[in-house]
């Protein structure tokens, strides 16, 4: 027993702390969104030379560590420092230019004037209050002629990762290959640009508030559960009617064990109703194609020990998995739909 434990500890140590391979770590944790060669997909194209050549390694490391709360990019806070560095080194291999040095110099400016300039020059892409462009990835929602979605600037992850100098240089020189154009060319003076940097930096308070709001659903229960006063058959019929009444299409009714056991041998006391509102489904996938893994909608009805219970996933709880604040509203809406269906079926 003692030997087994020693083996376990040794293997665990090797697994967690062995020399990291940036390419493999990138393939495992980043390529699904950013593309195998960094050319983008669900996430931004980080291999873009104008991006890589203008951001420091520190920026990349902080971005990996902190992510972008509410903007898809998760915080890889459990990666070791060596693993983060290995990923950055791999990403850096896509350019032959050295990483720009990190600068801690602060840029001073008039944030009120910067706000006015932001409204004139930046808000069209970066949104009101720097909330960023809409949509996720190229699959459904992003126009395919756009190589990048304007990042949210009122984001704690961005503001912690980006230095003042980096923000200033990006505004001044733009990013070739993206819709971000040079504001010097657009006619802003260096002082104007400093003012915009001061405004962007002033978004830190609202960014912190937004992050706080994102965490509110963490306490939600994983499922919505309601006891039925009716028997299984009547409950299922009530639920079918409720689904139709709420303008959903009932796709099918089957047993939870369908496809897992021989047909006819399923537990008949475990019934699942699958239903959909295709307009809503389309809208949800347009916001984030990943949500399909909890679709189509379904409610499970189980009879056990003479008690009938209906249950559904709690969309409010699930929304945190996607780290996409644009899903909050549809998830809230789906929560109301599920709650209402379960209530109607058990009245």
């Amino acid at each position: 027993m003692k030997n087994l434990l020693i083996v376990f500890v040794l293997l665990f140590s090797l697994s967690a702390y062995g020399a990291p391979h940036g390419d493999k770590l990138y393939a495992t944790h980043c390529s699904a969104c950013h593309g195998i060669d960094g050319k983008g997909g669900v996430g931004v194209p980080i291999a873009l030379p104008s991006f890589l050549n203008s951001v420091s390694n520190e920026y990349l490391k902080k971005t990996i560590r902190l992510g972008r709360p509410g903007r898809i990019m998760p915080a890889f806070d459990v990666l070791s420092n060596a693993q983060v560095s290995a990923i950055v080194e791999h990403v850096r291999s896509w350019t032959d230019k050295p990483a720009p040095p990190e600068s801690s110099a602060s840029v001073k400016g008039d944030s009120e004037h910067g706000k006015q300039l932001f409204a004139k020059y930046c808000v069209q892409c970066h949104g009101e209050n720097g909330s960023g462009g809409k949509g996720t990835g190229v699959t459904f929602s992003r126009k395919r002629d756009l190589p990048i979605i304007a990042p949210a600037l009122n984001n704690t992850g961005f503001l912690a990762a980006a230095s003042d100098v980096m923000i200033r240089d990006t505004i001044a020189f733009g990013r070739e290959g993206t819709p971000m154009t040079s504001m010097l060319v657009a006619g802003l003076s260096e002082n104007d640009i400093d003012d915009v940097v001061a405004y962007v930096r002033s978004l830190e308070k609202s960014a912190a508030e937004l992050k706080q709001n994102l965490n509110q659903n963490d306490e939600e229960p994983p499922t919505i559960v309601v006891d039925s006063p009716y028997d299984l058959e009547e409950t299922v019929e009530n639920l079918k009617q409720a689904i139709i009444d709420q303008n959903f299409t009932l796709i099918r009714t089957d047993y939870l064990e369908h496809g897992l056991v021989e047909e006819g041998k399923e537990n008949k006391k475990q019934v699942v109703l699958h239903f959909c509102n295709f307009g809503f489904l389309f809208e949800a996938l347009a916001i984030d194609p990943r949500v399909g893994m909890f679709l189509p909608c379904r409610v499970t009805v189980i009879e056990k020990d003479g008690k009938v219970q209906l249950s559904a996933v709690n969309p409010k709880r699930l929304s945190r998995l996607f780290n996409n604040h644009e899903l909050d509203a549809p998830c809230d809406e789906m929560y109301e739909v599920y709650s209402s269906l379960l209530e109607d079926a058990t009245l």
Binding site: L5, Y17, S80, Q83, T223, L256, G279, P289, L295, P296
Partner: protein, 152 residues
């Protein structure tokens, strides 16, 4: 004693095959086209001892209603005895069973997404049963590795 050894061995296997970090959402991209990625997925699932209980064709439903979409399917996956055991013992899990993997085309590539099975562990309080989800997690990482490494 035998149970303890079993637990330790399971943890060892889990540590060897699962990266040292765990995200709640697992994703993988493959350069395989959608039909080939779907075939690789189903083959790997079966090789890992799981069954595909159903494939839901989301795109067919959408296009049937007049919406434009690329290829999109949901694959329901599980081991019958484990699903039966979990649903019977923990009704709170019923709404999540069997687990689902979504698979969709993105240009010439294919993206797969699933919830980390470890999220189900938070819904129960039995430490021994939680190990089951650790194994599922390990298996899904392995399935995704197969997909990532598959060639056309």
């Amino acid at each position: 004693m035998r149970t303890t050894i079993k637990i330790v061995l399971t943890m060892v296997i889990a540590c060897l095959s699962v990266p040292a970090m765990a995200s709640e959402l697992l994703m993988v991209r493959t350069q395989q086209s959608f039909p080939e990625a779907m075939l690789t997925l189903q083959t790997s699932i079966r090789e890992h001892g799981y069954q595909v209980s159903r494939v839901q064709r989301i795109d067919i439903g959408l296009t049937g209603m007049g919406y434009k979409t690329d290829k999109y399917r949901i694959v329901f996956v599980g081991k019958p005895k484990e699903i039966q055991y979990l649903v019977d013992k923990y009704p709170v899990l019923a709404a999540y069973m069997p687990p689902q993997i979504s698979i969709f085309a993105e240009h010439d590539e294919t993206v797969l997404v699933t919830a980390n099975p470890n999220i189900y562990a938070d819904m129960i309080d039995n430490e021994t049963d939680k190990i089951l989800f650790k194994r599922w997690e390990s298996d899904i990482y392995s399935v995704f590795d197969d997909i990532r490494n598959a060639q056309d």
